[in-house]
Each structure stands twice: as C-alpha cells, then as structure tokens.
Symmetry: C2
Subunit: 497 residues, 2 copies
C-alpha cells in the first residue's frame, strides 16, 4: 500500500526508518528542508534528528521555505542543533534563541533564497529533506501542501531524503507547477502571463540516484490557528473594501481588481473575508499562502482561481478542502516561492498586495519585523517581494496593541522593512490613508487623521507640528523620534505620562 | 536648414517662439518634461515660462525623468512656479525650497513614475515638453541625450511641445530604443534578454496632431562636473575590484562579471574608472546613466556595450564622444527609464548594482537621501530599482565627511532607503564588508572591522557591545541610536567630546 507511492521500483530499497535516515545529517551540514507557512514540512526526520543529537551533539544550518509546523523549530532549537536558520520562522522558542544571539537568523525576502544559492552567494545545502505525496516513475518528487524552496533544494543538494506522508491524499498530485528559471547569461522571461498559467512540471525533476533515503510518515500538517474576524479587523476590511470599490468606480482598478496577494495571519485573512460581503466577482489570487478565506471566496463563487506556494487551513476548512479536492483542483496551483513571489511576475500581473505591519510611522515607513527596533518577531517573509513591485502596496494593522499601551503608528518606525517609496495605502480600524503621489508632510496629515488611534492623536500632532517647525523634507526631532518606544520599555506604555 | 529637422511637413506651421509656446502652460497644470541626470531636458520653454510668471504668476506640478541641467530647477524654483516636483532633483535652490516645505517633493523609484501614471495613480500630465533631435515623417519624436520618461509623458499628455535642439547632432538618431509595456491584464514579458537587444522603435510614436508647438533652441546640455578619482575613491575602487576578481576566481561571477549598473557622481564614476586597471574584459553596462567612465572603458577595449537611459559627459569627453559618434553608435542604446531600471530585467540579467550611500549603519541599512533623517539631498533615484532586484547590491561611500566631523557609518541609519534585506556589499576607503548570508550581529562585526574610519571605531565598538549586552536580533540602544547625529547637530561633530 505504502510502496505504491514509490512508483520508481528501483527506489524501494531506499525505504528506512526516520532514525536511520537522520544519520545522513552530519555536524556542520547545511540542510534544506521543505515547509512553508507551517505546511508541507518534513516531519519525521527532523524529529528523529532532535532525538539523536541528545546522544550525539551536532550543529546544522537549516534553511526552509518559510515557517515550520508541528513545533519543529521549537524541538530543533531545544535540541541545541540549530547554528543558523533562514529565511523565516514564527516560533516562540526559536525567536528567543535568535534574540539572545544563540541562533544566527538570516531574515530574507522569500523569493531570493534560491536565487542566492543558484549564484553561490549562499552555501548550497548538503542534504535536502522533502515531504512528498509520491515519487514518480522517473524518481521525481511530488510535493505536498507547500512547494516552498523544495525544488531548488532538491536540485542543489548532493543527497535527498524523501518523507512520504500518507496523511496527504494522492489526489494532491497534479496541483503543483514546478518551474525553475534558467541560468544566466541566457536566462529567458518567466513565461507566466496569467494567474492560472501552467509553465512547469507537476513533480520535482532530480536524478533518482540522489535519493539517499525514503521515510514514511502519516503525521498531519498543523492546523491554522487563524481566528474569526473581530470588530477591529472587520473594520479594517470594511475601510479597504470601500476604498477598492471607489478605485473601480474611478477606473483605476479593473472590476475584478486584478490578482490579490494577502499575507498570513488574522488581519490579512479578515480583510479577505471582507471581500465575501462585497460586490466583487471573478476575483483571483496570486499569493504565497492560501488560507481559509481563499476557499470561502471560492465557495461563495467570488473567486475563480488561486495561485499560491502553500495551503494552510483551519481544522474545519482542512477536511472540507482536502476531502473534496476534485471540487477545487481546477481552481488551484501551487508554485515554488521563487515564482509565487517573483518580482517579474508581481510587476507584470499588477498585484494588489495586502500585508500586515507591526508598526508604521507618520511618513509611511513600515516595520514588519522588529519589536522596538531590536527584537525579531517572525521575519519579512514575502512582503518585500510583493510591496516593492506591486500595483498597489497596502499595509494593515490595528492602531493599538496591548490594551492601548502600544500605538502601532509611531513618530518614526524603529526598523524599516518597507520604506516610504514602496508604501501606497495604510489601513487601521480607524480608517485608511492613501499616500499615493503625496510628499512626506502631506502623508503625515493623512496618516494622523485617518490611522492613528484617538488616544494618541494629540500626542502625534504635537510631535509632527514641532518637527515641521524645525523643518526638513521629512521633519523629525531625532532626540524624540523613539521617545514613544523608550517610554514603552521604561514605563510599559507609549502614552505620555 | 532647421526645418529639415521636422520631416513631417504638416508640422512646420507649429513652429513658434519659446515665449509663445510657454503660453500653453496654464495655472495648475501637470507638466511632464524631458531630462534625466542633467541631460536632454527641454531648455527654452521652461526658461520662457519662468520669465512669463514674473508678470502672470502660476503654479505647476513638474514631473521629469530625473534631474535637470542648465540650472532649470533653480530658475523655476526662484520664479515661484513650482508647486510639486517629482521624481528626483539635485539642485541647491530647489532642495532648500523642498526642505522648507515650500515645494512638495515626491521622491520616487525612477522606474515607477510612468507605471503609476499608466494606472492613474498619479494625475496624468496635461502637457509634455520634450527635447528632440528631429521629428520623423510620421510626426514621431526623436529624443536627444536622454530618454527618461519622455515617451510615456508624450503618450499620456493631451498636448506636446517639442524643443528641437540643433546643438545635438542629427546622427544621434537611431541610438534610442523606445519600448512601452503593454496594458494589464494582457501584459506580456519585456522581451529583452541581452543588454544589446533592441525591442522598440527609434522614435516616440504619437499622433502628430498632439504636437501643439515646436520650438528651436541650440543650447548645450550642461557638462558633467564629475571629478577625477582622489585617493579615497581610488581606494574604494581598488577594494571593489579585488573583491570582484575574487568572486570570479571562486566562480560566483562570470569572467565578465555580468551587466554593471553604476549610480551617478564622483564615487561611482571612480569605481568604474578602477576597472580600467583591472584584467576584466568584455564588460557590459545595463545602467541608467552613462558617464565619462563608460566611454573610457569602451576606448580602452574593456567594455563592449553600454545600455542606459541618458548620457552626461565632461566637456572633454562630450566632444570626443559626440564628434565621433560613428565610433560608439553600435555599442550604445538609450532606453526609457522604465526599461533601463525595470525590476524584471534587473533580475533576469543579474545586474551588479553599484550605488552611493549617504550613510549606512552597522547592520547594513543604507540612507541615500536624508541628512540627519530630515533634510532631503537629491532623492533615491534608481538605486532602489536596482538594489532590490540585482544579483549583487553594492553601496559605496567615503567613511568620513567634513574633515572627519561626520562618520558615514553610524549606529542606526537616520533614514532607510535600502534595508538590511537588500544590501550585499558595503565599501569605504577603509575596506569592504561582505554581508551575504550573515545575521545582523555578524554583519556589524564585518562593517566595524572593514568600513568604519579608525577615528570612530572604538566609539562604534562601544555602542555595539553595549547594545549586544541588552540583547535582540538587531541590538540597538534606542536612547543612543541617533546620539551621533544629535551630537553633530548640536556640536558640529559626531565624535564623542
């Protein structure tokens, strides 16, 4: 039964236990692993590795697509086996190790990791560990619920460990579209001009002799923990939908808006849910991650096609989608993250990019990563791939956090991931600021008026007016620019005492 | 003689004086003007306009390719006719007006202005003023020493004023390659796969009836003021050439490096001059601006082809190139800035991007625009178009300025135009820091060791060590992060007193 999933008979002899397979991983190796937004990560071998290092300590450099599910980053961190980690993570334990300087974390634009590998600017993975539905007759690997960097990791690594996960239905095969850009100087355009274009193969083409081990597992992906919209996220969605309706009315956007990208998490998911109550039809997505909202929109007949790089769903939606895959299969494609996030495609298709900000400032600079400019949250992810090249770069956040102790709008962002040149639209539950074509002083007026929470508005106006009095294209008082953050660290609140 | 330059006979009747033509410009209009890096700007009409507003005050929104020569930004600013200006400038008088808040300046990625116009995210120009060598039989406009945004401005504007400049030789015709991306949702790949590919037409195709006025002028472009390399810029060049030689030896770069982009100004020019003394051959450029160094490299047989968007030369080089154009014409193309800076092409070709930083910080964030985070210098220009998508993003600067009162390397950049995710290599005359694949704490060690001036090294180490003691992925002391800048503003030096 299991062996049917290995259609290249010559590979049957490579089946072994996760413990045995984990012994291919040696001290100092760079390991490329499948997994993107907690979907489709290799599960059994990294767990076996974490067990093994208790007896035989070793350190690895771990690169993945993005975040891992099933607490793997926590387990690996606690095992002490992580020396370096890239390009993204969302785990509390790993985050602590990163902020302590115990794990070196390289926080990258998600489209760029394999490009840097291809150019030998990063060390190539010694070994790849890839979750699969099946191995084809040719010995090619069929990925599961994410493609991530799995294709290029498999191609670059000297050895590949395949984890065939029987909890994923075989019907997933055919969903993926594996395209790898050609080498320079003879690289040609990525031949994708519509969200539903298929330009590659349905499996990762590698020589079968590179497959060093095959492990069977049946552990599920983690479920998404995305919550239902609350009052604030619903308000954010409403502001944005109203704005998009007006853009269509003014003929700045097509009636179906153009392809949508939405970041991961509660707010971006709520914004997409907001489109359920809109009059928009024929919506499409060209995004990294497909969440519950994507399938709610398909079910409602609002969305006709979704291209992504991974699927992560709540428990409810997971069974609905994967038990009825025939219903969705012709409306879905999963691509390598290099292609789902490719600047060439993002610009060509004219994507509307919706991502979550940790904080932003009155001039439109966005911090997506660092609490108080120092402590890493998750990483920039794909937001930069999309925002820089999108038709419209939208950032959303609640105007306050921690019961109002934190204002998400600050005089100066304490870390800048998306700068004033890249940010078009900012939305909080308070309202929406349209920054297009505005100079910094004009942007500040819009942001203070529409986005800042009333509890912080006077305080912000006071800063802005005193900064303007001192002058400059982007008026700031450098000796006060971070005073809100410093106040938070010292007194637990950004409010003036 | 002059009329020969208007090959569409029906347009001869549109010839008039600059004064008459300037009357087409009305109060409140958005004006799109040719001109990029002080090359190929319309000259007579804006000057006539500045005269006219003395009697008849009016305000315009002026958009160009980039900076204007012949003191036009100064003249227009002093005339009080500039309400808004985009997307770039380099003029002292205009800069002052921008920093006083008198002129609203929209500082943009240079590839994005016409894309935003095309999507109606910016107001379309009412009128375009375009410098030309000639008007073709079809009534199409042949640009001069820059293409900039001239093609799209002419296409979008309701009326076009053409300034035929007889100081430019007619032989310039044929140098340009005008390609305009198609409209979404049916946009196709930009079909450029090599630096010397011709994909468009040699003139700007507009219906001749849109040409409202034709003015003759014979005023030269301004000459470049780029200086010869000094000891420091030569040292920067040497560090970079050594690094590039090693990249080739390690097979991370092809023997000809791949297409080069270099920003405008003394340091980038000096770096390109440094390649003259290298062993590299078959070099190519895919850049915005072509300066003296490009032609020195062609003359030396080191460079085989240069694609740009404008040519600005010193007096010496100007006559050498333009009096011997037949010698260079098959090695040059001038393209619209949307194409010279296009993210799709920058990524496809694998460009080595070399741009100048105003300051950078110990974690690799670069400030290209704002003095002490507030006062605009010039603008981001094309540096962001290139750095985000390049094969390698290199930033160069002298480690100190103002006789050592300013350190160009600071604890925290006071404005971020290029963030840690985009910056690969930093070079000062002190040395070169290779940031690829490094976490922030590791980058800081490299930058402090290789780039910081010895006068500031201990001061920087002290900051970094105390910040690390407090912790975080990107350790900072928010209450001291700008202390160097504040010290400079208060005491005239960044040195601890």
């Amino acid at each position: 039964m299991q062996l049917e999933r290995i259609r290249h008979a010559g590979l049957h002899e490579k089946v072994m236990s996760a413990e045995q397979a984990s012994e291919f991983i040696k001290d100092g190796m760079t390991v490329g692993m499948s997994g993107f937004t907690r979907a489709g990560e290799a599960k059994a071998v990294p767990k076996a590795l974490a067990e093994r290092v208790k007896e035989h300590p070793l350190k690895i450099n771990l690169m993945t697509g993005a975040s891992l599910g099933n607490d793997l980053d926590k387990i690996l961190t606690e095992s002490g086996s992580l020396a370096r980690r890239m390009p993204f993570q969302v785990d509390t334990t790993l985050r602590k190790a990163i902020n302590n300087g115990d794990v070196m974390f390289i926080d990258q634009h998600l489209s760029e990791t394999v490009e840097q590998l291809r150019n030998h600017q990063l060390k190539l993975p010694d070994i790849a560990i890839i979750e699969a539905i099946a191995i084809t007759e040719e010995g090619h690997i069929v990925p599961t619920t994410s493609v991530g960097n799995s294709a290029s990791f498999s191609i670059f690594a000297k050895q590949v460990i395949v984890e065939i996960n029987t909890s994923h239905k075989p019907e997933l095969e055919g969903l993926h579209d594996i395209y790898i850009p050609s080498y320079r100087p003879t690289r040609t355009p990525v031949p994708l001009v519509k969200v539903d274009d298929r330009i590659g193969s349905t499996a990762i083409p590698i020589p079968p002799e590179k497959i060093a081990a095959i492990v069977f597992t049946s552990q599920n992906d983690s479920y998404s923990t995305v919550g239902a919209p609350d009052e604030d996220t619903a308000a954010i969605a409403k502001h944005l939908v109203t704005f998009l309706e007006n853009e269509v009315a003014e003929k700045r956007l097509a009636p179906n808006l153009g392809p949508l990208q939405a970041g991961i998490g509660n707010i971006a998911n709520a914004v997409m849910m907001g489109l359920l109550d809109s009059d928009f039809t024929d919506l499409t997505m060209y995004s990294e991650v497909l969440q519950d909202s994507t399938f709610d929109l398909i079910d409602a007949g609002k969305m006709t096609f979704a291209s992504g790089c991974s699927v992560i769903l709540s428990e409810r939606m997971n069974s609905k989608v994967f038990d009825n895959l025939e219903h969705y299969k012709d409306k879905l494609i999963l691509r390598p993250q290099e292609i789902s996030n490719h600047p060439e495609i993002v610009r060509r298709l004219g994507i509307i990019a919706i991502n979550t900000a940790l904080e932003f400032d009155i001039y439109g600079n966005v911090n997506s990563t660092h609490v108080c400019g120092t402590r890493m949250m998750n990483g920039i992810g794909g937001s930069g791939d999309f925002a820089r090249n999108a038709n419209m770069a939208i950032f959303v956040t609640k105007s306050i956090a921690k019961d109002g102790a934190i204002s998400s709008v600050v005089p100066m962002a304490s870390h800048v991931d998306h700068n004033e040149h890249d940010v078009d639209i900012l939305v909080t539950e308070q309202g929406l600021a349209d920054l297009r074509g505005l100079a910094p002083r004009e942007r500040a007026v819009q942001i203070i008026k529409h986005c800042v929470h009333p509890d912080y508005r006077n305080q912000m106006l006071d800063y802005f007016e005193r900064a303007c009095a001192r002058g400059g294209h982007t008026p700031h008082l450098l000796d006060e620019a971070f005073s809100w953050h410093i106040n938070l660290e010292k007194n637990g609140t950004m409010k003036l005492l």
